[in-house]
């Protein structure tokens, strides 16, 4: 990664769906090694902003760059393996075991299979590796998703409600994951309603109000 290039650079970014404006003139720059906390009421546009940063939603106006790549071009596909997103809704396949879920991710990303058991142990799920994801608690599923992020080194971490449904050990794990990413010159955007906890992890905090960043 080029040190001078911001990890996130949004200037005048807006998103309109039909006649509804979701985001309006959002300016946000996140430099390497920085974590930004993003707050806002329900429906303020926090998750949509995360989706834009994750290249999953294309903004309808403004300049949007992640790791120097314009998010309105098809070059953004190449960025995806460098971006980690853990949403508040589990994205595991409920029929598959935790090990199978992570093995699928490992195979797609070209990561060695042995790494799956390593990261399951790191998040305290070694004993539940053969349990189907659908039979696991919400907290266990979130741990497994963080384990997926531990398998590779991401340059941008996008975490939606990173403390939700997690016990103290798992919170330490998330904080360690963020610290590791920042230490490597990456960046993190943390969306949360838990201002106190996120404020401790973030270098600065911003607030979205009805699609406008304050």
């Amino acid at each position: 990664m080029t040190p001078s290039v911001p990890v996130v650079e949004l200037r005048g970014v807006g998103l309109r769906v039909g006649t509804t404006t979701i985001l309006r003139s959002v300016d946000l720059v996140v430099d390497p090694g920085q974590a930004v906390g993003l707050f806002g009421a329900n429906g303020a546009g926090k998750t949509t902003l995360l989706r834009i940063l994750g290249t999953l939603t294309r903004p309808s106006e403004g300049l949007a760059r992640v790791l120097g790549v314009d998010l309105t071009t098809t070059d953004r596909y190449d960025l995806r393996p460098r971006i980690g997103l853990v949403g508040h809704t589990p994205a595991l396949y409920p029929e598959l075991t935790l090990r199978e879920n992570l093995a699928f991710a490992a195979e797609v990303m070209g990561v060695e299979r042995g790494r799956v058991d390593e990261v399951l142990s790191m998040v305290g799920l070694a004993g539940a590796a053969e349990r189907s994801a659908g039979a696991c608690s919400h907290g266990m599923q979130r741990r497994a998703e963080f384990a997926r992020e531990l398998m590779v080194e991401r340059d941008l971490l996008l975490l939606d409600e990173p403390h939700s449904a997690l016990d103290r050990d798992a919170v330490d794990l998330v904080e360690g994951l963020v610290a590791r990413t920042l230490g490597r010159g990456g960046a993190a955007v943390l969306v949360s309603h838990d201002r106190d906890r996120v404020a401790k992890m973030a270098d600065r905090c911003v607030e979205l109000e009805a699609g406008v960043l304050r």
Partner: protein, 222 residues
């Protein structure tokens, strides 16, 4: 192994593992296919000569209708967060299309074999030219699997698209239905079926190319 090939195999294995746990094809779709074949004699009568004549055609109609159902249902159960997480693994849309097609086609081969055994039993269908029959079964599975995957990608792409699926599937399935029925007929009468085999190969290739080319734009339009 190339990235796309590795990813396609991972997607195929994932889809087959999910299906194995759910058992929808094995315990719901296949029994319904067999029941559909069983119901026809109740509607048209049990005259053995008539059943023997219409049996192969009915078998392929059942395979086509239920086959598309197998493929379209497969994609419908993937949630938005699951699709997002898969995309951020760097999963290539072409690999998703190829992997899903491999999984759906494999399930369709199973469907064709089990329902085929029932069709032979109910309609006394002659099994002539087993080697060619295997080729026809595989081509129909590949064609339908590709068509169903393409249709399910369109459904997943967005609002109102589901209504287009019958309009898309029906005309594209006709050459497969025609090729399959005429091949069986040709084998029974000792005619060459090469032209029908060729037709099915062309359909499979065209659907495959359309699926590969449209996989990226369809994924991005979600």
């Amino acid at each position: 192994m190339s990235g796309i090939r590795r990813q396609a195999l991972a997607v195929a294995r994932r889809d087959l593992a999910r299906e194995r746990r759910r058992g929808e094809v094995l315990w719901v779709t296949i029994p319904f296919g067999v029941i559909a074949l069983l119901l026809v004699p109740l509607a048209i009568g049990t005259d053995q000569a008539t059943l023997h004549r219409v049996g192969p055609g009915l078998y392929w109609v059942v395979v086509l209708l239920f086959g598309v159902l197998v493929g379209v249902r497969g994609a419908a159960d993937e949630t938005g967060p699951q699709r997002d997480a898969a995309a951020l693994l760097g999963l290539d849309p072409v690999a998703v299309f190829a992997g899903r097609t491999i999984a759906t086609s494999s399930l369709l081969v199973l469907f064709e074999i089990v329902v085929g055994v029932a069709a032979v039993a109910f309609y006394d269908i002659d099994l002539i030219g087993v080697g060619w029959l295997v080729v026809v079964v595989l081509l129909v599975a590949a064609g339908l699997g590709t068509l169903a995957t393409l249709a399910s990608s369109i459904v997943a792409a967005g609002a109102g698209a589901a209504a287009l699926v019958p309009l898309l599937v029906a005309p594209l399935a006709i050459p497969l239905l025609l090729g399959a029925t005429q091949s069986l007929d040709g084998l029974r009468q000792g005619r060459s079926i090469l032209s029908w085999i060729l037709l099915m190969i062309v359909v499979v290739l065209v659907l495959g190319i359309v699926g590969v080319v449209s996989s990226g734009p369809l994924q991005e339009s979600r």
